[in-house]
């Protein structure tokens, strides 16, 4: 029962707080929801909610706060989940030029044959855009920094440490589980396009995903994949 309450609370928190549906700010709506499909390059599906907060304004423009839940579509484990909370802001620059920004804090859990991984961190998205009544074309720059990860190794990873020393005379008996620091910094840059109507919007972002880690995404070119990230979102106005 406690677990059910926890999951319900978590979902509720996510759904009421906001959304990574920052494109919802382009709509004349107080609340919007969005379903999104992401390839980064792992395929996932997410649900977002965005609430425009009229009481908090910057230069006369309200901010949006929101949350997001995402699940992988294909995975060795179905226990993968991403949860994030954040705020969005649409700033008017001049004429039809705007900057849409989003700052969010995310919690990410994934599990595979090697182990279970939980990390968290901050992400900033910036969309300098040219906006007309329905269409908007934007550049995209995102920084995603997750400096710590919790690892719980599974049997598969542990077995690599067995039978290591000829006479079992050595120090390393298994991989270490726990919290670890790392330098997980992704920089995404690309383009976005949105089409907004009164009640709904469609947005599409495609990025080149560059890891600033020392070795980057080494394997992907080997199997013919450019490290990329793409996101298709379909938003709907819940309340005007």
């Amino acid at each position: 029962m406690k677990t059910a309450i926890f999951i319900f609370s978590l979902s509720f928190l996510a759904l009421i707080s906001q959304a990574q549906n920052h494109f919802g700010l382009l709509q004349n709506a107080r609340q919007t929801a969005q379903v999104q499909f992401t390839a980064n390059p792992a395929l996932s599906m997410g649900f977002d909610y965005l609430m425009r907060v009229e009481k908090v304004k910057i230069k006369g423009k309200p901010i949006g706060i929101g949350a997001s839940l995402a699940f992988p579509l294909f995975s060795q484990s179905q226990l993968d989940i991403d949860v994030s909370l954040g705020a969005s802001y649409l700033a008017e620059i001049k004429n039809n030029w705007h900057i849409l920004s989003r700052l969010k804090y995310g919690f990410y859990h994934t599990e595979d044959i090697n182990g279970r991984f939980f990390n968290h961190g901050l992400r900033l998205d910036l969309y300098p855009m040219y906006r007309k009544k329905t269409w908007a074309f934007a550049g995209h720059l995102a920084l995603d920094y997750r400096p710590f990860v919790h690892i719980t190794h599974k049997e598969y990873a542990k077995k690599a440490f067995q039978d290591l020393y000829p006479n079992n005379d050595g120090n390393y008996a298994m991989p270490q589980s726990g919290w670890f620091s790392q330098n997980l910094l992704f920089v995404n840059y690309g383009i976005a396009i949105t089409y907004t109507k009164e009640k709904w919007n469609v947005n599409f972002t495609i990025d080149y995903a560059r890891s600033l880690a020392k070795l980057g995404n080494v394997f992907m070119p080997d199997i013919g994949i450019i490290p990329f990230s793409a996101n298709l979102g379909i938003g709907y106005r819940l309340a005007k």
Partner: protein
Amino acid sequence: MRNILFVYLIFFTFSCQNISDIGVLVPPTVDQDSRLPNLKINVAGQNRLVHLRTFGNPTSPKLFFLHGSYTDTRAYRNLCEGLSEKYHVIIWDQRGCGLSERITEGEFTLEYAIDEIKQIKEVYAPNEKITIIGHSWGGGVATLFTAKNPNQVAQLVVMEPIPLTGADMKELYQQIVEFSYFNADWNSMARQGQALSIQDHAVLDYRAMMILKSSMTRAYHCSDRNPPEWLIHRVGGLVEHIRNKRLGNPLTTGFTYDFRNGIDNFQEPVLVLGGSCSSLGYEVQNQYTKPHFRNAKIVEIKNAGHRMNVEQYEEVMRELKNYLKAY
């Protein structure tokens, strides 16, 4: 609130190890732990320690065993122990793989792979012919060493070698490599890339282990239900990446390598083993590998995939003993 934030930062900053620290993700290599057996060799102008083990009586004829890609010596210990009755078996984690010291990209070429064998032969069998058994990638390298040094090899066994020429690989690539964007294993590996930063080799190796397990190559085993374990210590992630580059890329350069150029000079019979279930199995070996040798005998290992030595150990040992002169 400030205090909580301060404690939080202090806790994470000073209490955490880094994921690249020794022993966090993958076992230490011989340069990181002196208790592991090792041998220093000089290849590509670099002194490197390799993790090397020997089995059997040092006065017996020398048998060199070359492991495949995405693996190390550990997976072959059963064969090494089995053959140690009549041979002095020398097996090592090829440079950059397993518990051997990691290398840089410039240190890995086919020529350097041959130099590596020469260096080890200088230590263990400087004045005698050796028997070589190579599996998969190791079968290709064993063929190349024999082609370049036919007078230094007494016997050659290739267990499902990779296609020996780029032309063969071009024809067989689609049959060997399986990749689907909607594959759960691949998606999980990509997702792990969002959790762990590949900031150092250890993370790359850890991630490469997923390819070993999930197999983007078809038919490691006859049945994927409860296959026998393929135990390894470490996949050399960077080496696997470089190996792909050296062999060629089907999308860009094509495959230009050649393992068998000069193999005609080797007069002795060669044993080729192929599993009945593998995508590199008997049929492929019979059609593509066997014709490259002047005198080859090919044997099908029934009910075996690519990892025949764990799936049908007795059968493989029987065929090896039938071929090897010391038996």
